[in-house]
């Protein structure tokens, strides 16, 4: 009971000190806002950064999952050196026997599929559509964790025979058949008729932001022989037994292909092997750089903001030396003065923090609306930055407050 009385007394006391502090801040509105600007920008940057980072992280996680499970990708051409684009311009450096070799010679590999891709005009009945044609092997669906909502996929037999069969994505199904069930119907691709065996479950956007459901998938043999021509491959998907095997498999594929392509010691690869994670990281590099930049801005402005608060509090202590003297003369203890100025600094910095949080949430919202970045600001980030801005007030306000508290009453009263 006594404790309650005690606590409520102190609460009231602190509230009245906060009122005094707010009044002092309101008297110098412009100065207060300018002082808090550092904190406002700092906290705003933190919130934006967290929002962008968290949004990107969520998206990447979703997209890593949409790429498939435990996937290693092999591309023709060398991404990291002089030959950056050569692989894409030429016919490709990977061959079907390469794919076979990976499947047979590397343990821990559970599925391998080439991926050839080109866009074609397609038609069914009187409906036309322009879409991506992907050629793969039958294990492609297992590798990419891609299920069918209707019908069935093609088999290894279809691949061997280069039969004219395909499965279509949700978008294509809607464009060509509307509400109708496409299974069993014919789709003409570049005037070649293909039988639709099934419809794929929707997968949404890819890492690159394209619609993954706007696709027709068929045996790679059919695609190469009947539509695209050529015998070389640009992309091969490999699925490993487990997540832990990803990197060893990556190394093994590297060694195997160098050997098969007879690349001499010290020469560059004519292919590139990347794990799922590496692909995702490449795709999110921009938002990561943005996050780092924002983190730097945040750190600098929070420090500058803190110093600004310290500066303005020192000015305030000097300006109000007489006031401090008067308060001490009527019996304020050092602790009372310390508390008053500390509360003022904390009020200033936490108000800045609140405005900064608003600014950050607004910016995050704007980025997702205008730039199309997925942003997500977790509640903890809001709470932590508010607490942190209050802490900045305590840290940088302490020195000026202590200076005020240590004034000699009679000296302070004489101050002009």
């Amino acid at each position: 009971m006594n404790f309650l009385v005690e606590t409520s007394y102190w609460l009231l006391r602190i509230l009245s000190i906060i009122r005094v502090a707010l009044r002092a801040l309101r008297r110098n509105k412009l100065r207060s806002v300018l002082t808090a600007l550092g904190i406002i920008i700092g906290v705003g940057a933190v919130i934006t950064m967290v929002g962008v980072g968290q949004g990107a992280k969520n998206q990447v996680e979703a997209q890593i999952a949409s790429l498939g499970r435990n996937v290693v990708l092999v591309f023709s051409g060398n991404f990291s050196s002089r030959g950056v684009n050569s692989g894409w311009l030429s016919a490709g450096t990977l061959s079907v026997p390469d794919v076979e070799a990976i499947r047979l010679e590397i343990s821990d590999v559970v599925g391998v599929s080439p991926e050839v891709r080109r866009s074609f005009q397609v038609a069914a009945g009187n409906q036309n559509w322009f879409t991506s044609i992907v050629g793969s092997s039958a294990s492609y669906f297992e590798i990419r964790q891609w299920e069918l909502i209707n019908g069935a996929g093609f088999t290894d037999q279809d691949v061997r025979g280069a039969t004219k069969v395909c499965v279509i994505g949700k978008t294509v199904a809607e464009q060509l058949f509307g509400e109708e069930d496409p299974v069993g119907h014919i789709v003409r691709i570049s005037n070649v008729p293909f039988i639709i065996l099934g419809v794929l479950a929707p997968k949404g956007l890819s890492i690159m932001g394209t619609d993954q459901d706007d696709v027709i998938i068929m045996p790679y043999t059919s695609a190469m022989k009947r539509l695209m021509g050529g015998t070389m491959l640009r992309t091969v998907l490999v699925q490993t037994d487990s997540f832990e095997d990803l990197n060893t498999v990556r190394e093994q594929i590297n060694d195997l292909l160098r050997q098969r392509h007879r690349i001499a010691e010290g020469k560059d690869d004519d292919f590139t092997v990347r794990t799922q994670e590496e692909i995702a990281q490449m795709a999110t590099a921009t938002s990561r750089i943005m996050s780092l930049l924002l983190a730097a801005i945040a750190a600098v402005s929070l420090i500058v903001g803190g110093i600004g608060i310290m500066n303005i509090m020192l000015v305030s202590v000097t300006e109000r030396t007489r006031e401090i003297g008067i308060r001490m003369a009527v019996g304020a203890r050092s602790r009372d003065i310390l508390l008053q100025f500390l509360v003022e600094a904390v009020t200033l910095s936490s108000l800045g923090g609140l405005i900064g949080i608003g600014l950050g949430l607004g910016t995050a919202e704007l980025l997702s609306k205008v730039a199309g970045w997925p942003t997500l600001v977790p509640m903890t980030a809001v709470v932590v930055s508010f607490v942190f801005s209050a802490a900045i007030g305590i840290f940088f306000g302490f020195y000026p407050a202590r200076k005020a508290a240590r004034l000699d009453p009679i000296e302070a009263l004489r101050f002009e």
């Binding site: 008067i326 308060r327 009527v330 009263l413």
Partner: protein
Amino acid sequence: MSAVIHLDAVHKTYHTGEVEVHAVCGVSLNIERGEFVAIMGASGSGKSTLMNIIACLDRATGGRYLFDGADVSMLDRNQLADIRNEKIGFVFQSFNLLSRTNALENVELPMLYTHRRVPSEQIRERALQALDTVGLADRAGHHPSQLSGGQQQRVAIARALVNKPSLLLADEPTGNLDSRTSVEVMGLLQRLNEQGITIVMVTHELDIAAYTKRNVVMRDGQIVHDDPVANCLNAETELRRRKQADQTVKLAP
């Protein structure tokens, strides 16, 4: 040992650059409970300096000062602050009101720092009461800049009284007032003294000192005279006399 104030050869020396200023040198003084003392002397004779020491605002550089029997030089900052807050009311020569807060809040100020936890409704009530005592209840919401010198002086007195101190110190409480208002303030002080508050005040004016019970005269930091007032004036009778005089003037053609 019943003296409220016991000064024993108190010194205060200021070191300003090369020169040493002996503002107070060797003052010994005993002031008992219930006394009403006026300290007089020429400008620069050390009155304010002595008052600041008595008020526990400043420390003596030599000698001994016992307040209520306690040696002030042995007390720390916080203990001095508590004495100023609870036992002493001080009225400054230059008022020293907070310019950005109104009269009421100025009077409330000492209660914010009290250890005897005053509930907030009571803070307001007591401040209003104190303002009423000095006749300014209707000016509670005014800021010091909106008040006359005399009114500011009275707000300062109300602030000094609000924590019900046993000792009231006033440094030239009538310094800025016309003679009529001065007598009014002296009347207020006399009433307070009758209620048992010990009062020590500084004044230049002999006729103001005549309202007190004891006059101490300083010169160059020392006490040169210390006499009881032979026939002490009563402020109320004086005010009544003046009022009558005014009416006579008005009645005259």
